[in-house]
């Protein structure tokens, strides 16, 4: 693909592969921790506490089986976000963003390159966590593989975009940890990763329905287990809508030079 005599596909491939190389180079920091943390969740919640939870509150599934989609989604969300926010902020901090800005790469290629990096890491750690879960529940079967893969990709795209926007506005390393710590993590934990909202009293069930993570986690659970607390069509539409909105916002910020051009 050529634009203004510049081979755009080469520029995109260069940036995307650089991003993948970056997180692969530091695999001890990026790929191993999710596997270790999720193993602990499976041991504590799945094997020790899980057998005491009645299958009626988890739509008839064993608790460990019910938890698997939630934990995979939690990992995908945090890793896609973390990859893009830390990578883009680092290139700003190290000034290597200048390499990209001085080059003839169009803005959409820059955005897509970082998003591909975030998606690759999100999907890869998702697969790692799924492999770890098979040690604890070897008979796991995916109910709807197409929906599972679709949600996996859309979610990692969505949270990569959110990580990008966070990095654009970030002025310090504190700024890239505030949203993951104080916004994302609580919403994920309260978004049905560990429980069905049917377990909650009516009031808290209604409150939970305002949590966007609930829709992401439950749509993925529908793909993996065939059960969900929310409408899949509505959830998928909302994810796509937010991807479109955040992509437009990211491109606008790049064009305007917010946080990257003086």
């Amino acid at each position: 693909m050529k634009h203004n005599n510049i081979n755009i596909s080469v520029t995109l491939w260069t940036l995307a592969s650089k991003e993948v190389r970056r997180f692969m180079r530091i695999w001890v920091q990026t790929l191993v921790p999710p596997a270790v943390t999720m193993s602990l969740y499976f041991v504590i919640f799945g094997s020790l506490i899980g057998p005491n939870i009645k299958p009626e509150v988890t739509d008839g599934f064993d608790y460990v089986q019910y938890m698997i989609p939630g934990l995979i989604m939690m990992t995908v969300i945090t890793n896609s976000y973390a990859n893009v926010v830390s990578s883009f902020y680092s290139v700003k901090f190290q000034k290597s963003i200048e390499e990209l800005l001085i080059s003839p790469m169009p803005n959409w290629t820059i955005l897509l390159g970082f998003i591909i990096g975030g998606v690759c890491r999100g999907v890869l750690v998702g697969i790692i966590v799924f492999c770890v879960s098979l040690f604890f529940y070897p008979d796991f079967e995916i109910a709807n593989p197409l929906l599972t893969i679709t949600v996996l990709l859309l979610t990692s795209i969505l949270f990569s975009l959110m990580g990008f926007i966070n990095a654009v506005y970030a002025d310090s390393f504190d700024d890239i940890s505030v949203i993951p710590t104080f916004v994302l993590t609580p919403l994920i934990y309260l978004g049905g990763v560990f429980y069905s909202i049917n377990m909650l009293p009516d009031f808290w069930r209604s409150v939970s329905q305002a949590n966007p993570m609930l829709y992401v986690v439950n749509t993925f659970r529908e793909g993996m287990l065939g059960t969900s607390d929310v409408s899949i069509t509505f959830s998928l539409s909302m994810i796509v809508l937010f991807i479109v909105c955040f992509s437009a916002l990211s491109l606008y910020l790049l064009k305007r030079g917010t946080g990257i051009r003086e």
């Binding site: 050529k2 634009h3 203004n4 005599n5 510049i6 081979n7 755009i8 080469v10 520029t11 491939w13 260069t14 940036l15 650089k18 190389r21 180079r25 290139v91 190290q94 000034k95 290597s96 963003i97 200048e98 390499e99 990209l100 800005l101 001085i102 080059s103 003839p104 790469m105 169009p106 030079g257 051009r261 003086e262």
Partner: protein
């Protein structure tokens, strides 16, 4: 005449209200080696930043080889290479990978870039360090890497923002010879530097910017000819005890064997030799005072 760079009425006002550029206009001819000088905060880096689109201009126009950066920024940028003042590559990547990646950002496939990268790294003495992480390089090698990166897509216009700052004399001279070589091969070069000797040695034309305005834009020869007084340093055959006096010349004994002479433009250096000869003083060798551009530069920015 074709210009490598045309700047018209370029203004930059930063968010805090600082007016960094007050409508400068500048033309750099194709093939030129041009020095852009100015004290710290004069507007040099803002100008370079705008050309490379790292800084957003407030108004005015910039054309690179007749391509307006507002109309076709990708084409304009593909003809431009910039060596920034500060190190701007990922410190954790290998030297070879950094240059290959840079080529990729310009749409050059890895298979095509490989031989070019090898040639460039060899030419800049970086080939032996190609597998080293960039953060392990010394300051001088990091500067070379910056130049390799900026040149890998063979730009027609190369801008260097203080490329030899903090570099030792040997490496500085190596860089000078490399830059002269690529300029002779046709690359237009714009250089900013605080080493005025560097500008005098390398550049044919010069622009001086101060407080966001161009205070001089002329040939180096013309600028130097504006000097009313030239300084000469003479090594004497025999040491002197006392400073000699010659009418019309200002003489100063720097040490018993070195005499400094300030010669007015309307006086001949031959007449000074004649007078010294009459006094029995013989000159073994003589050289120009090296900081003549510096004097002129200080004089020009003082006028503001």
């Amino acid at each position: 005449m074709s210009f490598a760079l045309e700047i018209k009425n370029l203004k930059k006002v930063y968010a805090g209200g600082t007016e960094a550029l007050k409508g400068i206009s500048l033309n750099v001819k194709e093939g030129d080696f041009y020095a852009l000088l100015g004290p710290n905060g004069a507007g040099k880096s803002s100008t370079i930043g705008i050309i490379g689109t790292l800084v957003t201009k407030t108004s005015g126009s910039v054309k690179i080889f007749d391509v307006d950066i507002d109309e076709n920024v990708a084409i304009a940028k593909s003809m431009l290479g910039v060596v920034s003042q500060e190190i701007n590559f990922s410190q954790f990547e290998k030297v070879h990978d950094i240059v290959i990646t840079q080529a990729g950002f310009y749409g050059i496939k890895k298979s095509i870039a490989e031989p070019k990268v090898e040639e460039m790294l060899k030419r800049l003495g970086l080939w032996d360090k190609r597998n080293d992480q960039a953060r392990t390089l010394s300051g001088g090698y990091k500067r070379r890497l910056m130049i390799a990166k900026a040149l890998i897509h063979e730009p027609k216009l190369l801008i260097l923002d203080e490329p030899t700052a903090g570099v030792d004399i040997e490496l500085r001279r190596e860089m000078w010879s490399f830059l002269k070589e690529i300029n002779e091969k046709g690359t237009t070069i714009i250089l900013t530097t605080h080493y005025l000797e560097e500008a005098e040695q390398l550049c044919r034309n010069i622009g001086i910017i101060d407080y966001g305005e161009i205070v001089a834009d002329t040939s180096m020869k013309d600028l130097l000819s504006r000097l009313d007084v030239q300084g000469f340093i003479m090594d004497l055959d025999k040491p002197l005890e006392k400073e000699p006096t010659v009418e019309g010349f200002e003489l100063k004994l720097e040490d018993p064997s070195t005499l400094f002479a300030a010669v007015n433009k309307d006086k001949s250096i031959n007449s000074l030799f004649g007078e010294l000869n009459k006094l029995g003083i013989k000159v073994k060798s003589m050289r120009n005072e090296s900081n003549r551009l510096e004097e002129l530069f200080i004089e020009m920015i003082k006028k503001k």
